[in-house]
């Protein structure tokens, strides 16, 4: 049972929505060539929904970019293509085909190197090739402790390098959107949203999300204490590993071999929200890539990962 009074909850969401729309309009108005980074997850779905609201009755004034590692859940790709069709998005899909051809997989190269090559490098190349000076993403400050200090407009130096000392102070609701040569910016309109806000907003606005967020019987194996889904036949089983069907769902969505499932019977958004309120583990606890080192996400960010 959601105990928060409905009126106040709606007003909190209205305030967060207003702030996000303001930020999206700044990004579209101030920068030469913005792009919206679309990861197909729940935060991206909210971001896309807000962007459409921000520019109605006009069209979305920027393209949408997906960095496809070729290891995303199949349902994610289906959802992406269906969304792009329905909304008439200018969708760009980019993959590090060299690394893919060279056989880089989550199983062969270790999570850090795999992520660097398939996600970070691909994103940097896609931004450079497109000449994008602003990349709008759905990251939130409450996802991880090192993100609590992230700016809403995060300036990147030439080469996409993130320098904590060059981050600009963000006074009031207005940001310095001037860029020096070679600088670009990552924009996070959902900075002040929590995981629960995202789900409540999805429920209120009836935003479609990938069905993997809701529980269903799915084929999984237990490996190193976590449940991993066998989304296709590329998942090499270790000796003794036995696929089994379990009722599971995903709190975050990424590359399927790197994303842990949680056991759940939540088949509706209401049940999912109740479960999120009760299960107080951090959201990124299911992301295997964050775990390699005490400040791992921060290290990735300084290299240009989102």
């Amino acid at each position: 049972m959601d105990i928060t009074s409905t009126g106040t909850e709606a007003a909190v969401l209205d305030t967060l929505e207003a702030e996000a729309i303001h930020v999206l309009r700044e990004a579209a108005g101030a920068f030469r060539k913005p792009v919206l980074l679309y990861s197909i997850g729940k935060d991206s779905s909210v971001l896309l929904h807000l962007a459409i609201k921000a520019f109605r009755p006009g069209r979305l004034p920027f393209p949408v970019l997906h960095v496809d590692t070729r290891w995303k859940f199949r349902e994610m790709i289906e959802f992406r293509d269906a969304t792009a069709r329905q909304l008439g998005l200018d969708l760009l899909v980019r993959t590090n085909t060299d690394a893919d051809a060279a056989g880089v997989t989550p199983f062969t190269h270790g999570t850090h190197e795999y992520t660097r090559l398939m996600k970070t490098v691909t994103l940097r190349r896609a931004l450079d090739e497109g000449g994008f000076d602003a990349a709008i993403g759905g990251a939130r400050r409450d996802e991880e402790r090192s993100r609590a200090k992230e700016r809403i407009f995060s300036v990147r130096e030439p080469g996409h390098h993130w320098d904590p000392r060059r981050q600009r102070p963000e006074f009031w609701r207005w940001t310095n959107t001037e860029l020096a040569d070679g600088q670009s910016v990552r924009v996070f309109p959902l900075s002040n949203w929590t995981e629960l806000d995202v789900w409540r907003y999805i429920r209120r606005e009836e935003i479609p999300v990938v069905p993997l967020y809701l529980a269903a019987p799915r084929p999984v194996v237990e490996r190193d204490g976590v449940l991993l889904m066998l989304d296709d036949d590329r998942f090499p089983l270790r000796p003794g590993e036995e696929p089994m069907d379990r009722w599971v769902r995903f709190r975050t969505l990424g590359c399927y071999p790197l994303t842990a499932a949680v056991e759940s019977k939540a088949v509706t958004l209401d049940e999912l929200i109740d479960e999120t309120r009760a299960d107080r583990r951090s959201e990124r606890a299911g992301r295997l890539i964050d775990g390699d080192g005490g400040s791992s996400l921060e290290t990735k960010k300084s290299e240009g990962y989102f």
């Binding site: 009126g7 309009r25 101030a30 921000a54 109605r56 009031w172 609701r173 310095n176 001037e178 606890a285």
Partner: protein, 611 residues
């Protein structure tokens, strides 16, 4: 809106801020349980938390560099839901002297400040500093959490003494609402639950106080403003988009594009969920105008009471650039979505954040807060910061590096009524007819000088002499108007500016009534006196500098103010804590050490010569 409460949390190093915030988050179940577990198992050097218990300060740890140094060097944002459902956003500001700009960032959007004071160490220089920065940034509601009461045996006397001391300090710096709560962050006393250790405390817990707090009416108010962020184009649709600030915007409202003189009507207001009759401040909207008006990003749509165009204004700036301020330097000025070129002169004063006093300044370095004058090539439209935090602020940006070098708050915007839709009514009986009736020529004698210079004494003597000569007069004395008209103002630079402005406006009315007005007011800043002078025709305004050396004023000290200032109990005392900027072109300079009779003769002749 009001569903989201933003606070800035500030305290000196080791006052226990991280622990307090960590406990607030943990006890409202706002921290993932795996983070709690980490905080139970991890320890950093110097921690006094027993093993097996949660080190709450670890919950708010951020960047790797900070973890190594064990300090907070940047603003972090935390979220929790208050009882009742409102969202609390905590801007966790660094406590060190050298990160003052970060604290100003955190305060810039805050409704309320939570200031920690260590019960054992008491009020420290940092306490002054945090209060001064908060008030400067427009945060006038302060919650003081007197922490570490466990270390003083939960002694009520210690709490009461500190509470009175901090309350007085906050109020003297301009805070309007001060609450004081006793807590022990480490022991969990009175943070979210009442504590048996504090039986003498019958007020709320810190959380209870925050949950029940409602913002008061902000001082001043402005009309509707819509800074245009983007122009949306659709199928036969073209409409400016932005977030409404100031006052609500309604369909059918008459608006104009500031500076263009073009008036039009709002035909349609489109909010996030479709058409609206009325958009409250804070709502992101797109509007359709009844005329096809040339409008672009950076323009400002306003109701009839728009801000005046200004090409020169005074401001308080927080310096954030690594390069020092360059007097006369050229910068980019960002007013919301508008970017123009600006020249900045000064600094006229520097806020000593350790004490809250403004003193003389030569330059501004990173984290300094000072006063400057901004001049722009093209007019910009600004409200005063006291009236509007949304349209009274700006950023200064380095033209080459594009770094933000300063954030500014408008103190005295040049007032011009011609663009505000205010149409003065003409009355048949005018100043000339009133002057004729009285048989005199109206005039304003503006006496400026240090406290104790002899302004009131001279004003009184001149007043008596003129009265005896049959001249209709009135004296506006600084201390007297502060008892009534300006009772709401303190002595911070922006309050002094407002004090001067109001006295000048009253003097202008009295002048129009045909009186000879004698103003006796310290009015220490040149820019503010210049703003006062602008209200008058050259012949009507006589600036009189009562020039008495500071040493002599201190020796006289008729009101005992210098004694208090030197003892540290009076802040912002001109000549001690704040600079006095002597006039450069006063019409009359009086030697304050000479006899009053000489001064009277001189000023009476100024008045009677005009007859």
């Amino acid at each position: 809106m009001g569903a989201v409460l933003r606070i800035v949390a500030c305290g000196s190093v080791d006052d226990g801020k991280s622990t307090l915030i960590g406990r607030l988050l943990a006890e409202t179940d706002s921290v993932p349980h795996d983070h709690l577990e980490q905080a139970r198992q991890t320890r950093r050097g110097g921690s006094v938390v027993p093993t097996g218990e949660i080190d709450y300060s670890l919950l708010t740890d951020g960047l790797a560099a900070e973890r190594e140094q064990g300090i907070t060097i940047d603003v972090a944002y935390r979220y929790l839901d208050l009882p009742g459902g409102r969202r609390l956003i905590i801007a966790d500001a660094p406590g060190h002297d050298q990160y003052g700009a970060n604290m100003a960032v955190a305060a810039s959007t805050a409704d309320l400040a939570v200031l920690l004071v260590d019960a054992e160490l008491g009020v420290r220089p940092g306490t002054h500093r945090h209060l001064a920065v908060c008030v400067t940034m427009g945060v006038r509601s302060i919650v003081v959490a007197v922490n570490k009461l466990d270390a003083v045996g939960y002694d009520q006397a210690v709490f009461d003494r500190l509470a009175a001391q901090v309350r007085a300090m906050a109020e003297s710096l301009g805070a309007e609402e001060v609450h004081v709560v006793p807590v022990s962050a480490i022991g969990g006393d009175n943070v979210t639950t009442a504590s048996p250790n504090l039986p003498w405390h019958d007020g709320p817990t810190l959380l209870g106080l925050l949950a029940g707090w409602q913002p008061g009416e902000r001082r001043g108010s402005v009309g509707t403003r819509l800074p245009v962020q983007y122009v949306i184009r659709g199928n036969r649709f073209r409409g400016p988009a932005g977030t409404v600030v100031g006052a609500a915007l309604r369909r059918g409202d008459e608006v104009s594009v500031a500076g263009s003189g073009v008036a039009t009507t709002i035909r349609r207001v489109i909010g996030p969920d479709g058409d609206l009759d009325r958009a409250e401040p804070g709502t992101p909207i797109t509007v359709e105008l009844s005329e096809d008006v040339d409008i672009r990003r950076g323009d400002l749509l306003t109701s009839r009471q728009g801000p005046p165009p200004s090409t020169e204004f005074g401001a308080t700036v927080v310096w954030t650039g690594n390069q020092r301020f360059e007097a006369g330097g050229d910068y980019l000025l960002l007013v919301g979505p508008k970017v123009v070129s600006a020249t900045v002169t000064g600094p006229h004063g520097l806020l000593d954040v350790r004490t809250g006093q403004t003193g003389p300044a030569n330059t501004l370095s990173v984290n300094d807060i000072g006063t400057v004058t901004v001049t722009t090539a093209t007019p910009v439209f600004l409200d005063s910061y006291a009236d509007s935090r949304d349209t009274g602020c700006f950023l200064l940006v380095d033209r080459r590096t594009k770094d933000t070098v300063a954030a500014g708050m408008v103190s005295v915007a040049e007032r011009r009524d011609d663009d505000r839709g205010v149409v003065p009514q003409d009355y048949a009986v005018d100043r000339t007819s009133r002057e004729l009736l009285k048989g005199q020529r109206a005039k304003v004698l503006w006496l400026t000088g240090l406290s104790g210079a002899g302004k009131s004494t001279i004003a009184d003597a001149v007043d008596r002499r003129l009265h005896a000569l049959g001249v209709h007069t009135y004296v506006l004395d600084g201390d007297n108007v502060r008892g009534g008209l300006n009772r709401d103002l303190g002595f911070a630079p922006e309050d002094r500016a407002e004090n001067v402005r109001r006295v000048a406006e009253v003097a202008a009315l009295m002048l129009d009534a045909g009186l000879v007005v004698i103003v006796a007011l310290v009015s220490p800043f040149r820019a503010y006196r210049a703003a006062a002078r602008k209200l008058f025709a050259p012949d009507d305004f006589v600036e009189v500098w009562v020039d008495t050396p500071l040493a002599e004023c201190v020796r006289r000290d008729p009101k005992g103010l210098y004694a208090k200032a030197n003892a540290g109990t009076l802040r912002n005392m001109t000549g001690v804590g704040q600079d006095y900027e002597p006039p450069t072109a006063a019409e009359v300079r009086l030697d304050g050490t000479a006899s009053t009779e000489e001064a009277v003769a001189r000023l009476v002749s100024v008045v009677t010569d005009g007859r």
